[in-house]
Amino acid sequence: MLQNKIVSFFIVFFLQAILFEKTYFFNSVVFSPIIFYFIVFNYNKNSFSELTFAFFVGIILDIFNDSLGIYSLAISLMVFIRNYWIPFYFTFDRISSNKLYNSYELGIQSFFIYSFPLIFIFNSFLYIFELYSISFLPILILKILLSSFLNFILILILQLLLLSSETRYDWS
């Protein structure tokens, strides 16, 4: 699992930093593959190391993106909320430190309900701070929703590509 986690991290990080860096599809959708890592992989309650790691990954992405503070805030906020969201959403027996939170484990509907609010929060911060504007609020919300939905699909695709079949079912 650890090896899979490290490889997945480097792949999504490079996708984010090099390929999707500041690429706006259809002039409004931002793809953020890095959130795949922070949504799917294992969960430890109140983990300082996870929060610190998320913060520093955000800082490095900020350097690539010339957006000092925005990614570090968005990613650490997402990890912080996930810390409370998982125990709130899942029953106690489904929470385990070596469990993957993906659609294979949870089912697509349950995974959508779990991951979409996190993706939405991440994208909201990104849009509001990166574009420095809350003008035309309905259009902004529409853009965030569209971006969140497409990012959810991206996560499903990454899941299919990055998680080997053994990894998918090992922790079920």
Partner: protein, 274 residues
């Protein structure tokens, strides 16, 4: 005090998050809209190298387009050369004071560029070692691109015209109506023209040029073309929107222009103001 310590200990995860969030907020608000130059310069070298490599790879896929641009540019330069030759022949006295003598030109390549922020920047593959200096004008093939903001040894970062902090003195059309060009941050396809009084007649399709009021940009370089004129605004001035001449989504090759007389002009103006 003990209660306070107990609350802190109990909620240390929350406080730790708020501490990290505070750092992020300080970074966001302290460094925007002008991200600190020092931060840029320290990370400039490593990031610049990465962007340079990426740009090297992607430029292979754009070779056809770049070839066309170079061909057009050669054509344009040739035409200019012919015009200079003609003017030399006809007006020998004016040659010494000609426009081309007072400007130093460096060519560079854009290796990173943003268009969707309130203040957009671009990174160039030339730096101090190549003669790039802060406040040099950056021109594209068709018109103005921006102005150099900070320089490291091998790279430079410039404010794009799509930056709300850049206000360029300009003149409109053949009648040279004095104005200023800036970007309000709404759409990368719209530049706003400021300070044009309502009694002056501005037409759709007029070209906006740089004026000689600022020593950074050479005079009469196209900036934008008037798209919409609104005289019914509440202010004393007309509300004018224009299309930028340059397409900021696809800029690769640029020219940095330095006015050799800029310092002399500035000094004289400062002395006169005292």
């Amino acid at each position: 005090m003990q209660i306070l310590i107990r609350i802190l200990a109990k909620n240390k995860y929350v406080f730790y998050f708020f501490f990290l969030a505070l750092i992020s907020f300080i970074s966001i608000f302290n460094n925007n809209p002008y991200y600190s130059s020092s931060y840029f310069n320290s990370s400039n070298y490593i990031i610049g190298k990465i962007f340079q490599t990426r740009s090297l790879v992607s430029s292979y896929f754009n070779l056809n387009k770049i070839n066309n641009e170079v061909m057009n540019e050669n054509f344009f330069l040739k035409k200019q050369l012919l015009e200079i030759n003609r003017s030399q022949y006809n007006y020998k006295d004016s040659v010494n004071n000609s426009y081309y003598d007072i400007y130093k030109v460096i060519n560079a390549k854009i290796i990173n560029n943003s268009v969707h922020k309130k203040n957009n920047y671009f990174t160039l593959d030339k730096g101090e070692l190549d003669g790039v200096k802060v406040d040099q004008a950056v021109l594209g093939f068709r018109g103005i691109i921006g102005k150099i903001h900070s320089v490291s040894s091998n790279f430079a970062i410039g404010h794009s015209l799509l930056s709300s902090k850049l206000i360029i003195p300009s003149s409109i059309g053949e009648s040279n109506v004095i104005s200023s060009v800036t970007w309000f941050g709404d759409s990368p396809h719209i530049l706003n023209i400021l300070y044009v009084p309502k009694h002056l007649n501005i037409n759709k399709g007029d070209t906006v040029y740089t004026s000689s009021f600022e020593s950074v940009f050479p005079e009469r370089i196209p900036i934008s073309i008037i798209k919409k004129v609104d005289k019914n605004s509440n202010s004393n001035f007309q509300e004018i929107e224009s299309y930028p001449i340059e397409n900021f989504y696809s800029i690769y090759n640029v020219y940095l222009v330095e006015n050799k007389m800029k310092n002399e002009q500035k000094l004289l103006e400062e002395n006169a103001a005292k």
